[in-house]
Amino acid sequence: MSSRGPRLLEWKLGTVAELVQETPRVASLVLDVPEWHGHLAGQHVDVRLTADDGYQAQRSYSIASAPEDPRLAITVERLDDGEVSPYLVGEVRKGDKVELRGPIGGYFVWRATDDRPLLLIAGGSGIAPLMAMIRHRAAASSTTPTRLLYSSRSYDDVIYRAELERLASARDGLSVSHTLTRTQPSGWNGYSRRIDGVMLAEVAWPKERMPVIYICGPTPMVEAAASLLVDMGYDASSIKTERFGATGG
């Protein structure tokens, strides 16, 4: 599906087919969207909520589902002082309709036809667009060498944990490394700290392999990881970033 060419992005009404509680604070809304024209892994949608007096609020959410999936999934972290996220994670029920438009964004996208080594770095709910890429990779039966480094606060905060474990155990070229930055379960043998240069040197594809790199998460984490990789000699133009600013809105 081409992402090029002007096309008016109309508002559409998706129906919540399924709600998946991923972690205590994070849920996925799986939507049936009539006349959805498809998307590329990494793109997002704008969601618009309207109160009965006409008041509206809009936010953007990365599409977490693969393009091959007939249903559209978004994964939302509930922010306590948020305006939209407490509605999507907490109020919305199966059968409710959600207004959205998209897909949006032509840069932070990955196609399974790209067979260059893939490095994905996620922080928290920043895993969502990267999960679309990983799911797309699986649906396309790609064996592109792929490494995911995923930073979460604790074991219970790891979104898609079981699915990532299952996909990584398929031994088709995907490896997943986790770092838990605040608390770790007993017996944990993954990383236990914020992403740093030593960790990246151990996890990332060597720069001679010229990987394509996607980083998504809170701004401080994205900034740190991107800067470290540039300092380590990775080509800046091979690093694509998407920053989630949890600005309390």
């Binding site: 959600v98 032509g106 840069y107 701004t219």
Partner: protein, 201 residues
């Protein structure tokens, strides 16, 4: 009538600010950082600003030369296409009118280009007549690299992707040419008051 989201209340904004917030936006108190790639780091000793394209003579300033130009302090509301709006942001910069002073051109468009490769396109009339600056201070402090320092373009009446971070020059051109985001699904013009976010809006 528009679709109603069952059970949605939302946060009501204070009415004093309401008229200043374009459709689909919400007000933030912090200053979010969004960019497509790593932050370029440019020492001011290596910084240049150029004016080129459909003009009689290209012009170039070093940082020291640029800092000798008359500056203005402006306070503006800014609107990001990702929906956040920040009110009353304070900047110091050189007006683009000053940069273009004495320059003869018949061009109607500009391309702003930046260290790191970013570009964005604007009509010339949207960066002249007191509507645009090359800003190097935010809130009285040198502009941080994450926010586009040493200097960024500042065009507050359009979505903030038009305010090119790490700007290193303006090229005057005869035809409107899509820059980085404009080539990746975003609107050629970007008026927040008409909610011109994406292609076709």
């Amino acid at each position: 009538m528009s679709f109603i989201s069952r059970g949605f209340r939302g946060k009501r904004r204070d009415t004093a600010a309401a008229g200043r917030v374009p459709p689909g936006q919400y007000v933030v108190e912090d200053f979010p950082v969004l960019s497509a790639g790593p932050t370029p780091r440019i020492p001011v000793a290596e910084w240049n600003f150029v004016l080129e394209g459909e003009i009689d003579e290209p012009k170039k300033w070093t940082w020291d030369e640029f800092r000798k130009l008359p500056t203005e302090q402006v306070t503006k509301d800014i609107h990001c296409v990702t929906k956040w709006t920040k009110l009353d942001t304070a900047w110091t910069g050189v007006s683009v009118d000053t940069i273009l002073d004495g320059v003869g051109t018949a061009a109607e468009y500009v391309v702003a280009f930046s260290y790191g490769g970013y570009t964005t396109n604007l009509p010339l009339e949207d960066v002249t007549g007191g509507k645009a600056w090359v800003a190097f201070e935010f809130d009285g402090q040198p502009l941080h690299p994450e926010h586009g320092g040493p200097a960024r373009l500042l065009v507050p009446h359009l979505y903030f992707w038009k305010s090119a971070k790490w700007v290193r020059g303006l090229r005057l051109v005869n035809e409107d040419q899509p820059g980085f985001w404009e080539s990746n699904g975003y609107n050629m013009y970007g008026d927040p008051w008409r909610e011109q976010r994406y292609w076709g809006d």
